[in-house]
Symmetry: C3
Subunit: 221 residues, 3 copies
């Protein structure tokens, strides 16, 4: 999920620390969204912990399984597991006040989406996969945790229907891949992708941008 | 998903080309069925592209993850990804006319089911798995894309309830495994399995053959 | 799913045989619960066989895929596949009488849950994963077959809502890990965990113990 420690040498500590902090914010925000979804299904606190964990760490898990990237990142970082379970359980205590933090939550969630996407691109790049797979790896990391959450809560994944969300992940991954091809320096491209992605997501929320919907109700199969 | 290029030398080019064409038809047909399912859930075009891709490439992905067959086939063939996304998006444009092509669609879908099944058997055979796993690998490839599609669209997988469909995959895989054990020449067994499977599926559609249903409504657990 | 044959030398045959018998009871009980769930959705007998197999063998499959433990256990034991398919199909014949066996079924199911959990812990231990992953591996093996069953049957997984069930798996895995850390002899710790887990589960059923539920109905996201 995170750039591995071996990467540490190849770029600045401050850059690494920044991405780590954003990553930790990201899994915390995702865990909280998982806990709220579990609460909507009246799950017990065990279910809350599971859904929180799956939402936060499931995207990276699916990415690693698809890319054959073992050991899967969180298995080497038990502290992440405690963090997301803790965030999930804490959410059950503060949930009644969370609507007041709606804007903060949406901001954290947007930062998480973009951080996940960039990390996913990096993992595939390091493993030498072709550009299309780099983009897909970023998107898998960004959105499949939320898809797993919705499948386990028995609803159609919201990412396929909400205002620009998954598309932000796609845009970020494409931009990152293009800048990589153009050999833009890593720190620069990360910063540009992050800023562009965040702006796009926040604008999409503000102006309720969404993609065209495909409705098809005929039954003939 | 496809016999790898290294196989190319070991059997005739024409045979390989034929299977490739059928495979491409198969993933296109599967992608279209995914797009229609997404349309029934009023997804946006991003959701359509994802469901189309998952339906077309998900079966092979699950097979490869279960068999530990890395890298997963589509990661080495970006062109397949563009094909299935293109097919999914195109479907949104022509959907209103598709009921007129019902028979063509069902034929392509049947060819796809059988091609997927045979390819899945081949992958497990090459990896040296025992006969039962060869059959399961064929079926995983044949039907699990459709299962993923239905899970993501929040409905009970249709393959568990429709007229003979998954059973056709099972029959094809069993026949293929038996002919392999009897050392029937590969081209011959592929042809026989394909013809027998297609006949079985088309007869099942024509005469609405189906398996006995198990209904159980008691609640005591 | 099972301790591999190479383990055979390192502890007593009788111990191994006991765990094998319990494991076989476990996958049979899980297959039966899968078949009943399929029956509640009016699936055909093919669907019954698939849901039975996925419920019984899916937990170990997910664990092996997450841990990168290839080949996945059941691919090396075709006899397990026949057992679970047989158990699933047999269930369709005897289902109308099963409510009379409710207590037996719950006992077998509890034994299965605990056996799965202990086996899952062992697999992760052997692969050298850290303690947190050992516990998660046990729980994945114990409960994810049932989660897959419920997702394929299009319902919110029951393990997140029922009286203490998944929590029993967690307790057993934690106890096992603690005893391993304290270097308690393997046979002793297995026996203690098994007895404690079974007692906890049966008490939970008897007194309808359950975890606090988190209900959250606000919609603001």
């Amino acid at each position: 999920m995170l750039p591995s420690v071996s990467l540490l040498d190849s770029f600045q500590w401050s850059q690494f620390t920044t991405m780590l902090v954003i990553y930790l914010v990201a899994i915390t925000a995702e865990a909280m969204s998982g806990a709220l979804a579990a609460g909507r299904r009246n799950m017990d606190i065990f279910g809350v912990a599971v859904i929180a964990s799956v939402t936060a760490l499931g995207g990276g898990t699916i990415r690693d399984m698809v890319l054959g990237h073992y050991p899967i990142s969180w298995t080497q970082h038990p502290e992440y597991i405690f963090l997301v379970i803790g965030a999930g359980l804490l959410t059950t205590l503060v949930a009644r006040h969370m609507h007041r933090l709606k804007r903060v939550f949406l901001l954290l969630d947007a930062m998480g989406l973009i951080a996940f996407s960039l990390i996913g691109c990096n993992v595939a790049l390091e493993l030498g996969y072709p550009p299309v797979v780099v983009v897909i790896s970023g998107m898998l990391t960004g959105i499949s945790g939320g898809i797993l959450r919705d499948v386990l809560c028995n609803q159609v994944p919201i990412v396929f229907r909400r205002e620009l969300y998954a598309s932000v992940s796609l845009a970020v991954c494409l931009l990152f891949q293009v800048m990589h091809t153009l050999q833009v320096e890593y720190n620069v491209s990360t910063l540009v992708c992050f800023a562009a992605g965040l702006a796009l997501r926040l604008l999409a929320i503000r102006f309720e941008w969404s993609l065209p919907v495909f409705s098809y109700q005929q039954r003939w199969e």
